[in-house]
Amino acid sequence: MIEKYSPLVSRVSLDLSPESNCYDFSLFLKSVHSNELLDVIPSKNEILLCYKQERDMLSKEFLQNAYHLFTKGVLASKNPDTLNLKATIKSTEDLKLILNSNQLSLDDFINQLSTASFKLDMFGFIPGFMYLDGLPKELHMPRKSSPAYNCPANSLAIGGQYLGVYKYPSPAGWFIIGQILNLPSLEKLHTLNRGTKIVFEFIYEA
């Protein structure tokens, strides 16, 4: 449900309760209110609605009702797909920092990563960047104090509670642990639904 509604000029920020499906609710709003909305930016618990004009802004009550409608199963029938990815884990400086900070051995790290079940939580940040749910708590790592200026395309990284995939080169506030070897095209990635299972085959490169 919508816990906070913060209008600002032609934008409204919505804070949703933690159990809410922010990403799919964003897509729902975008499809239903495409005439009024210029853009919809979802994140884990917050949605930013950017309106074409201030006068088009939907009220909190209207959006609350829309959320109830949405939760009655409008998007509940999607079957999760599966995406198989092959990734190398590399002994990067970032990986060493994670091991140090979380007091893990390399074997522990690889073992925990290999046995975890990941699923796509949302797209965000830059094109093709996937937030993957399912990272074991022992591997969580806060973002860097200052983002690195660049990380290579197809990097696999850890940031907070997520495993993340950088499809394209980018500044990176997350800790790079390896490379994906078979990441599909951007167009193909955009066909994946939230909840898609991501099955990894990890290869360790010393």
Binding site: S13, I41, I47, I126, P142, S146, G160, G173
Partner: protein, 288 residues
């Protein structure tokens, strides 16, 4: 009737931009588009193009180009001492350029970005996600999805306008000494001391900046816990505060979500001004 232009010198980060890319941020497709929309739209008006049609953004250094056919052009924004065949031309005016003429320029003395509009409709620009704006990281828009390069050929259909537009333009210069902002959602993650630093510091834009974000020189205090548990939506103009105390102003090519506190927001009109500030020039931040 076709118009052909050849890039002789690419300048610095010169690119084709338009109003930007909207409606795809749920897929993390960045907005992109002009860094100084006001100047870019004035250039389009001066050559009778559609106001949101693409034109050429130059950063710090001018492009040089050869006109293979007659064209009408207008340049706005930063003054890079532009010349047509060695004859100086003024900003904010429409000029007719003859076939065989060359447009040249130097470096911006005041301001940082110039906009060159060419009368007509581009024929060989790449449209990606409904926009011609160049986003080089993913090869979206522009000529080939990248910044302009020497030898590039721009082709236009001149069906829209061949005549000069007589507009008596008095374009007031932008005051870039003070940039106004509003409080961001995580403003109160700053200590009272940091809030004072934010408002009393003479900031500079670091040279390590690009169209994605401007890192500011002039730190607030270091605080390693100053990150968010989850990524949150961000837009061009969002000011993030990093744990090391550095402020980053997200710009037109910015990401759509981020995990650092949003301590301030520069509104779109103010962002036009901000994007004309050269690295190294000092400015203040003030609440509007």
């Amino acid at each position: 009737m076709r118009l052909k232009i050849e890039i002789l010198h690419k300048g610095m980060l010169s690119s084709i931009q338009d109003i930007g890319r909207f409606g795809y941020k749920h897929l993390a497709i960045p907005q992109s588009g002009w860094m100084d929309k006001r100047s870019a739209q004035i250039a389009n008006i001066l050559v009778a193009n559609e106001i949101d049609s693409p034109n050429i953004e130059m950063t710090m250094q001018s492009v040089s180009m050869l006109f293979h056919d007659t064209a009408s052009i207008a340049i706005t924004g930063a003054d890079m001492k532009f010349k047509i065949d060695e004859i100086p031309i003024e900003l904010n005016k429409t000029y007719s350029v003859s076939a065989g003429s060359k447009l040249t320029g130097t470096y911006a003395k005041e301001g940082f970005r110039s906009y060159l509009a060419i009368g007509g409709t581009p024929v060989n620009y790449l449209k990606s996600y409904d926009s011609y704006s160049t986003y080089p990281y993913c090869h979206f828009g522009g000529l080939n999805g990248t910044y302009l390069e020497q030898g590039d050929i721009l082709i236009f259909d001149r069906s829209i306008s061949e005549s000069l537009i007589d507009i008596n333009t008095e374009i007031s210069p932008l005051d870039t000494d003070r940039i106004f902002l509003i409080e961001g959602p995580e403003f109160n993650m700053l200590s009272d001391t940091d809030k004072q630093i934010l408002l009393n510091t003479k900031f500079k834009i670091s040279a390590n900046s690009n169209r994605m974000g401007a890192r500011l020189e002039g730190l607030v205090s270091r605080n390693e816990s100053r990150t968010l548990d989850n990524s949150v939506p961000v837009t061009p103009g969002t000011i993030q505060c990093l744990p090391n105390g550095q402020l980053v102003v997200l710009l037109q090519d910015a990401q759509t979500t981020g995990g650092y506190p949003r301590v301030g927001i520069i509104t779109p009109n103010e962002l036009n001004k901000f994007n004309q500030i050269r690295p190294g020039k000092t400015f203040n931040l003030s609440f509007s």
